[in-house]
Symmetry: D2
Subunit: 139 residues, 4 copies
Amino acid sequence: MNAAFEWPVRIYWEDTDAGGIVFYANYLKFMERARTEWLRAAGVGQQALADGQDLIFVVTDTRLRYRAPARLDDLLHVSVEPVELGRARLVLAQRVRLGETPLVEGEIAVACVERATMRPRRIPSDLLSRLAVVPAPHA
Amino acid sequence: MNAAFEWPVRIYWEDTDAGGIVFYANYLKFMERARTEWLRAAGVGQQALADGQDLIFVVTDTRLRYRAPARLDDLLHVSVEPVELGRARLVLAQRVRLGETPLVEGEIAVACVERATMRPRRIPSDLLSRLAVVPAPHA
Amino acid sequence: MNAAFEWPVRIYWEDTDAGGIVFYANYLKFMERARTEWLRAAGVGQQALADGQDLIFVVTDTRLRYRAPARLDDLLHVSVEPVELGRARLVLAQRVRLGETPLVEGEIAVACVERATMRPRRIPSDLLSRLAVVPAPHA
Amino acid sequence: MNAAFEWPVRIYWEDTDAGGIVFYANYLKFMERARTEWLRAAGVGQQALADGQDLIFVVTDTRLRYRAPARLDDLLHVSVEPVELGRARLVLAQRVRLGETPLVEGEIAVACVERATMRPRRIPSDLLSRLAVVPAPHA
């Protein structure tokens, strides 16, 4: 059983490079789209969070392993699984797959900061409790 | 004699697509780099303009003609020539060349707006007068 | 009645810039995603076209008018309407809207070329005839 | 004494996001520009390598730590230091600084592959020996 949150990502020309494959930096974008939708599934809109509480999440650490390339027109799936839900920091395991083939795996750490100062802030507790129980979209 | 302001742009993997050539949307980035350096040559820092007077330039119209492709490792030159220096709006002719070969030509219109409201604002007059006499970098 | 083909595009952090709005060059990406899906709705896969017949579409002309900005989390809709279906060239009218608010309008011309040589080629006639009758996705 | 190879990178609007800072995925682009110039300083042109020997370098692992943000108009410096020069794989330590302030640090592993098949290939020995002695650009 796969209970992780997953989000589909289609590959367009903009995502590829002259090697004929997806440019590796773009997987960070795909993983962020999936994190954004995972937050949205928990009822968290980041524009609203920034406007209402001046809080944004910033990435502090990334670790990615690239195992196989994707190409134009491929339909990928990107998962999000919380590894650590801290008071001011989240660590998420993320995987990108094409069908059953794993393409990229990684861990992304994000910190909650005040936008105006970039200083660390506690994640609002109601938000944290909702993140602990994000439903998988197709489970 | 070519008295237009010019800025060099090197092509990296990030700029290319699976067609083996530079992804066409990226020429808008190259043209913006050249406009930014043209402003800088006139003594205008955009971060300072935004911080100090809450003014930013936003693009309102673009028209581009693509004549020949660029490839990885190419060293392009991007020019900026003012066509219209209005009170709240600039129109710039821009060309991208590889050696003597023209690759892309276009016209870009930008408006001066207040960042907070996105409403049109007059371009500070000292800034306008400096733009009228930007020196070409290698003339 | 709006019979144009439309494709939804969600705005993520990757799409925005420090002005707090969507970076203007990215609308070209959104329009290309819509064109790709319009081709796909006509049964045309571009990777298959490149692999099978060595044909790719390259953009030759773009003209865009930016009327209002989009922001993080916005859900846009991008339309595609053929203006000209030529033997070796397509001209498409494209619009981006947020709800009923028009954001960006433009015309994009693309040419069919042989990938190896970048020389113009006739668009396969079966492909052209299918493009003339692409169904709108939600009509 | 700092003998690492360094490359300057200016921050433009295209590099920023709505948080007002550089979008974190873009540091991978900056690091690649520096690696490309480091290769070029060793006499290695990647387009020529691809055309002549069908060899490209693909990224297999990235690990980045983000310590402080950069903003519009900042002039960054990106370094490259070989950690491992293997037969088919390179590991490089890379740092991004703004003046004396470290912004991002990371390790990037790249593999040499045949473009047509994406299979690992030995790095040409003359190329490897030149990489061992790349001069720092301003040492």
